[in-house]
Amino acid sequence: MNLTAVLSILVFSPLLGIAVLALMPKSAEKAIKVVGFLATLPALLLALAAYLHYQFGKDLADFSVSVPWIQFRGMAGVDEPFFSVNYELALGGFQLLLVVLTAVVATLSALAAAKFVKKEWKGYFMLFLLLEIGMLGVFTAENLILFFIFFEITLIPTFFLIGKWGYFEKEKAAYSFLIYNGLGSAVLLIVIMILFAKTGTTNIDTLVQIMADPSAPLSGDLKLGLFIALLIAFGVKLPIFPLHSWMLKVHVQAPPSVVMIHSGILLKIGAYGLIRFGMGIFPEQFKTLATLIAVLGVINLLYGAFLAFIQTDFKMVLAYSSISHMGIVLIGLAAMNEAGVQGAIFQVISHGLISALLFFLVGILYERTDTSLIENLGGMAKGMPIAAGFLLAAGMASLGLPGMSGFVSEFMAFLGLFKEMPWIAAVGTIGIIMTAAYLLRAVLGITYGKSHREFTGVLDLKGVEFVPVVVLMLLIVLIGVYPSVLSAPLKATLETIMLGIGG
């Protein structure tokens, strides 16, 4: 069976929804919400089908597609053909997991948006679907230029989604998002174009091979420079410590359904880029800077955790907690052994699910009570017992309670780093303790804390609100008790990465 069209359909399926929405009248609120939600389903179904395809032992390479796309012309007879870029999509194990994660979170976010978005649904869902195309494309692109194109496509809708549908300081947040990420992608573009000009290709696999070849036309210094540039580019996205300020604003100001996507998927592009390109294309340089990356990871972990501890706004707690958890990704990667890298990838997926869940719950709380201050939310368990229960469970998952996904990833990441740099890892463990402290403080403060307001008359979870909460919770527990749903597809990816590092 020829499956080469599947990925293109998967990535571009939201376009159909955009087209239908464009023809609908602005005022048809219900219908717009339904179409917006339905439009995310084809991608979800195809992503799940691809996962099953893999689970039944078939080869993911069946999905690969590569057709010539752009030929940049040079002087006839001298540089001919000058350079060419193919349209190529493919799925590896790691990408497969991220595509499934993206499709799941996007569908749930569309459900959440039907709840949280109060105006101009048509524009919202059209931009949202465009954003989904960008995200799916980022994880399936097989060459750097295509990756960059999809990466930039995510910027514009996100800018509008924050700037138009966000809270009080939405425009500031939107600009800060655009400029930081614009600079990040500018640096990325420089790296891509230098690689392109020097090697004549942007295909990722080919680049990996060229770079492994000692006779490659790039000097060691240039490679190191490119790697550092890559670290900065994806460091903005992840975000790594001094480059994080934009992300706090976005998490606080953007509407909850967008934060689910942002924290659940968009930040993960940074991690994906570091693993796929940083580690894949520049393994030696990654090794050279491993200590620095480990230190950066620990700084992220501790900085995020300490600041999360003193926040009064629950959204800020979660925002800092995201920074802290992304530190664990860096820690795992810096170990550069199988356990560490696997832990990092697990953390990427796990945090995607957990933060989507937490931000959905925050959205519900804010919608019901008009506040997200921990102090004002105290005593929630009395009025909203079910929501409070899920909040507690999500908090536990986030702090790494065994049996949930967060535990597996943190454990493996630290296991990896203890093997290589025990002292740095030891310092890092303080972060684990802090994580427990700030999450318990915040979550317990909300659920069982001193009550400042009456929760009577405040509705608990109801109807479709259960869908995102239950689905995400189930996935979190599933990964926690049966991690091989993730580790099986990752096996091949890890082997390739390990081969590259030579470990």
């Binding site: 796309w69 012309r73 006839a76 400029i179 420089i190 174009m193």
Partner: protein
């Protein structure tokens, strides 16, 4: 020259020029003899028909051999045809804007010259593309600029328009004089005005004295032409002239006149200074030795254009600085002198024509409605006319160089050239960094259109001409962004510029 010699020339090479010349003469006569009560718009439509006929005749000549007539002073090569197509298409779209233009003040109903002056300016630009001689080059340039002076001041009862024309005449006059002075050095050294002959003589000379003089000539000519391109530091006239001139004229200046400027730069720099030996190293042409100087000008142009644009509150001034910045991007391509230079410049000018003219069409509609050209007048455009706002949004995204649009592919082309061969890291980095700066002002307009409330709810009536321009601009910008090879292949297969540029 006797009649029989004249008859031997292959005059058909000049068909497009004859069409434009004939029709503009016809329009002049029609304007003279038509009763005053008749609407002069019909002249505009005749002009559009003439341009279409000229495009067809150029397309008919595509692929033919190089023809040169009149002692090599007029040559029809691929370079000429490629840029003629751009100039004709740009002028055609400008005329569509012109027939839809309703001036609030200063332009009388009775204004036939408003239409045929565009044609005579276009004729000048077309002659420039085909000149093989300094004299024809200069005459073409003068025909273009003198027509533009009148056009800039055509609203004769409007103060701003008069100021614009006055500044333009003075600055333009000085720059022409400087260019001519520089050319006189070249003539003095070689005793010929024919470009090919000049190139031939210069390449056989290796006298140090001459090299000094030629370097001086290079600087003087380039300074003069920098005025035309509105490149830093000779860009000061552009904002005032752009602001004061009627919108279609501004569009003409920013697109057609700029394209013609690059045509003359390429012709003179490559043929004359690309073959003259430099002072230090006789094997290295002056052009290569002056690369650093060009790079400096390009960098300064990009920085000044983009940074000063941030502070503008008038949309036409903002677009003036934006067009300065775009000239800077194209200068990067000229500086890097890579083998894809012609293609990248041609493609960038094509993309720039589409997005800039489309944006000016929107500006024209909005400013006619509101009576001013403040950026704040775009507030709430999305509410008043969603189509117009979305169209402007797409064009701004293209101007900012986001993927999926022609602007991105244009920049990509330039980057490849800049990193290929001897890489220009600093220059390319400046280009990418200033591109990010440009997000601020392009998205500033977006903020107004999409986030701000409208001052009134009145709708827009789009005249036919505007609709044509908008459709062409948006379809072109997206089409060449997604499938750039349509344009690139056309160039490569039919117009192999480098093959016959120097022959």
């Amino acid at each position: 020259m006797s009649l029989s010699i004249l008859q031997q020339f292959n005059w058909s090479a000049m068909t497009p020029e004859f069409i434009i010349l004939g029709v503009s003469a016809l329009l002049t006569l029609l304007d003279l003899f038509m009763p005053k009560s008749l609407d002069r718009k019909i002249l505009g439509w005749i002009g559009i028909a003439a341009i279409l006929a000229a495009i067809v005749s150029v397309l008919g000549m595509v692929g033919g051999p190089v023809t040169s007539i009149l002692d090599n002073s007029f040559r029809l090569d691929s370079f000429a045809m490629a840029f003629k197509l751009l100039l004709l298409a740009g002028s055609g779209l400008v005329l569509f804007l012109a027939v839809s233009y309703k001036a609030k003040d200063g332009l009388e109903e009775y204004h036939g010259e408003f239409y045929y002056l565009f044609l005579s300016a276009l004729l000048g630009a077309m002659i420039m593309t085909s000149s093989g001689d300094l004299i024809t080059l200069f005459i073409g340039l003068e025909l273009l600029t003198v027509s533009s002076y009148i056009l800039a001041g055509i609203r004769k009862y409007n103060l701003e328009s008069n100021e614009a024309a006055m500044k333009y005449v003075i600055n333009g006059g000085i720059s022409t004089a400087i260019t001519l002075f520089g050319m006189s050095y070249v003539y003095g050294l070689t005793g010929s005005t024919n470009l090919i002959e000049i190139a031939g003589r210069l390449s056989s000379v290796s006298d140090g004295q001459q090299a000094y003089l030629l370097t001086l000539a290079f600087l003087i000519v380039f300074v003069g032409l920098s005025f035309k391109l509105a490149a830093a530091p000779f860009h000061m006239w552009a904002p005032d002239v752009y602001q004061g001139a009627p919108t279609p004229v501004t569009a003409f200046l920013s697109v057609v006149s700029k394209t013609a400027g690059f045509v003359i730069v390429l012709r003179i720099l490559l043929t004359v200074f690309g073959s003259a030996a430099s002072v230090g190293d006789p094997s290295k042409p002056i052009l290569l030795e002056m690369q650093d100087y060009l790079a400096f000008i390009a960098g300064a142009t990009m920085i000044i254009g983009n940074v000063v644009a941030l502070r503008q509150s008038n949309i036409k001034r903002m677009f003036a600085y934006s067009s300065i910045a775009h000239a800077g991007y194209i200068l990067v391509a000229i500086t890097s002198l890579s083998s894809n230079m012609f293609y990248s410049i041609w493609f960038y000018l094509l993309a720039y024509m589409l997005m800039n003219l489309g944006a000016f069409a929107v500006i024209q509609v909005v400013s006619e409605k509101t009576g001013s050209t403040k950026i704040a007048d775009f507030a709430g455009l999305y509410r008043r006319s969603p189509v117009l706002a979305v169209v402007m949004g797409i064009l701004l995204v293209s101007l900012a160089g986001f993927p999926g649009t022609a602007g991105f592919i244009g920049k990509l082309n330039i980057f490849i050239g800049a990193f290929y061969g001897t890489p220009h890291y600093v220059l390319a980095s400046v280009m990418i960094a200033t591109t990010v700066i440009s997000y601020f002002y392009y998205f500033g307009v977006m903020t107004q259109m999409f986030f701000r409330p409208a001052s009134d709810d009145s709708k827009f009536n789009l005249p036919f001409g505007i609709i044509v321009v908008l459709i062409v601009a948006v379809v072109g910008s997206v089409l060449f962004g997604v499938m750039p090879n349509i344009a690139l292949d056309f160039m490569q297969n039919n117009l192999d510029v480098l093959a016959d540029f120097f022959s």
